[in-house]
C-alpha cells in the first residue's frame, strides 16, 4: 500500500490534523498537497490581492514615469514599475494554480477586479499629484511592503514563499531608489522641501492604514488571525505597524520632516509607539472602491481590457490552430 492511498483513506479530521502537524513542523505545503478548503481560500484571497496590488500599484507611479526629473530617475522609476508588473505576473501565476481546482483562472481574477470583488491595497487608491509623491511611494510604501512581506518569507505555502524571496529583494532596491529621491529633495531648495512635506502629509494616514486595523473589531473580519494559525503569516497588523514606525520615524525626523500627528511618540514603558489611529470607516470606503482615484485607475484597466479584446481573441485563435 502506498502512502498516497493510506492518506486518502483518512477522515477529513485526520487529514486536517496531519496538515496542521506539517505546517507546525515548518514543512512547506506544495500545490498538489492536500489542504483544507479554508486554507486554499485564504491563500487565494491573499495572493491574488497581493498580485493585483502590484499591478494596480504601478499606476500611481506610472503617472510620474515620463516626468521623472532626470535621465537617471527616469530609468530608475521605469525599472521599478517594470519590476512591479513582473511581481504581479509571478504572484498571479501562484494564485492561478490554487484557483484551478475551483475552475477559475486569470480571466476571473480580472473580472473580479473590475467588479470590485477583488480588492487592492488602500494606498493605490490615492492621489499622487507631485513628484514628491513618487518619492514617498517608493520610500515608504515599498518600505511598508518590505516589512509586511518579509514576515511571509517563511510562509507555509511553498510557491508563495519562494516567489517572495525574489520579490522582497527587489522591494529593497525600490526603497533605496525612493530614499535617494527623498534625500535629494530634502537637501534641495525650500520649494522641494515643501513639496516633500506636503507629500508626507498626504500619505501618512494611508501608511497607517497599509497594515490594516489593530484587531478584527474595526473591520469585522479575522483573516489575519486565521493566517497566523495557518502559518501563512507570523505577525499581527499592529506588530508590523510598530516595526514600520521604529524603522522609519527616526529617519523621517532626521530629515527635518514633520509627521502630521502631534501625538506620536515612543512610550518607554510599553516599548510601543503611541499614535493617532486611522479612520477605519474611511479605510473601508477606500478599499471598496471609493477612494479618490479608485475608479479612475480601474477605468484605465477596464478600458484597455476592452480596447484590446481583439488582441486576446486573435491570440486565442492562433493557439487553437
Amino acid at each position: 500500500m502506498t502512502v498516497g492511498m493510506s492518506f486518502n483513506q483518512l477522515s477529513e479530521e485526520e487529514k486536517m490534523t496531519h496538515f496542521l502537524d506539517r505546517i507546525n513542523a515548518g514543512e512547506k505545503i506544495e500545490p498538489d498537497d492536500w489542504m483544507p478548503e479554508d486554507y486554499r481560500l485564504q491563500l487565494i484571497r491573499l495572493i491574488s490581492m497581493h498580485g493585483i496590488s502590484e499591478i494596480m500599484g504601478a499606476l500611481p507611479e506610472k503617472e510620474w514615469v515620463p516626468k521623472a526629473p532626470s535621465l537617471h530617475r527616469k530609468l530608475a522609476i521605469m525599472a521599478k514599475v517594470q519590476d512591479e508588473m513582473g511581481h504581479g505576473q509571478l504572484l498571479l501565476r501562484v494564485a492561478e494554480d490554487l484557483m484551478a481546482p475551483l475552475g477559475k483562472n486569470r480571466h476571473d481574477i480580472m473580472e473580479d477586479l473590475f467588479s470590485g470583488k477583488l480588492k487592492f491595497h488602500n494606498v493605490f487608491h490615492m492621489d499622487a499629484p507631485t513628484w514628491g509623491d513618487a518619492g514617498i511611494i517608493a520610500w515608504l510604501v515599498d518600505g511598508a511592503a518590505i516589512i509586511s512581506q518579509s514576515m511571509m518569507l517563511d510562509s507555509s505555502y511553498g510557491p508563495y514563499a519562494r516567489a517572495l524571496k525574489r520579490i522582497c529583494a527587489e522591494e529593497v532596491f525600490h526603497a533605496q531608489h525612493g530614499e535617494s529621491i527623498i534625500l535629494a529633495m530634502a537637501e534641495g531648495t525650500p520649494e522641494q522641501r515643501e513639496m516633500l512635506q506636503d507629500s508626507l502629509n498626504r500619505w501618512w494616514e494611508s501608511l497607517i492604514m497599509f497594515f490594516g486595523p489593530k484587531s478584527a473589531k474595526e473591520t469585522g473580519n479575522s483573516n489575519a488571525d486565521k493566517n497566523i494559525m495557518y502559518k501563512i503569516r507570523t505577525k499581527t497588523n499592529e506588530d508590523l505597524r510598530q516595526e514600520f514606525f521604529t524603522k522609519y520615524i527616526p529617519r523621517i525626523w532626521s530629515l527635518g520632516l514633520t509627521i502630521p500627528d502631534d501625538t506620536i511618540r515612543f512610550d518607554e514603558d510599553s516599548q510601543m509607539w503611541i499614535y493617532k489611529d486611522a479612520d477605519w470607516s474611511k479605510f473601508k470606503q477606500i478599499v471598496s472602491g471609493n477612494g479618490p482615484q479608485s475608479q479612475n485607475r480601474l477605468d484605465l484597466r477596464r478600458r484597455s481590457y476592452k480596447n484590446n479584446e481583439w488582441v486576446r481573441t486573435a491570440l486565442a485563435a492562433k493557439k487553437a490552430i
Binding site: 530609468l75 513582473g86 505576473q89 532596491f173
Partner: protein
Amino acid sequence: MSELKSSMIDSVMDALGDVKDPEIASVSILDLGMVHEVDVTDDKVRISVLPTFSGCPALHIIERDIKKAIENVEGITSAEVKFVFTPSWTTDRITPEGRESLKEFGISPPPANHVMGEPWEIDCPYCGSTYVTMENIFGPTACRSILYCKSCKNPFEAMKPVADMG
C-alpha cells in the same frame, strides 16, 4: 608586481566580494563577473566595472556600495569606479559560485557558451526538472525571464543568456 601591491589587490577583491547586486541579495558583483580590472597605485584604487545591461538604474548604488566597501581596506584612501562597456559583460562571466547562489534564489543560471539566436535549455532551479514552460522572455528585471515548472508547479526566473555578438 610588488608583494605589497598584490596583497592590497587581494584585500580590495575581498572587499568587493561583499558588494551585492542591489536586486539579488545573495550574489556579489564578483560572482556576476562584473569586475573587469582592479588597479592599485600607492593608496589609490581604480576599479572598472562592466554593467550587466546598458540601462541599469542600479549603477549609482553599486558605485556607492563599492566605495563604502573599499573605505575599510587598510592602506587605501581613495577609490575610483569606472563603468566600461569593453569588454562586453556576458553571462559566461558568472562564476560557478554565482550560478549556485542564483539557483538558491530561484533564478536559473544561463547556459554556458550560448550563441545568440540559438534556443537554450533551462532547468527548474528548485527541482531540476526540464519540464518547464517559458511564460515570458522578459521578467521583473530586464536581464531575466519568467518560467513555470510543470513538475513542482513553481514559477521561477532564468537569466537571459547574453553573449558577445562580435
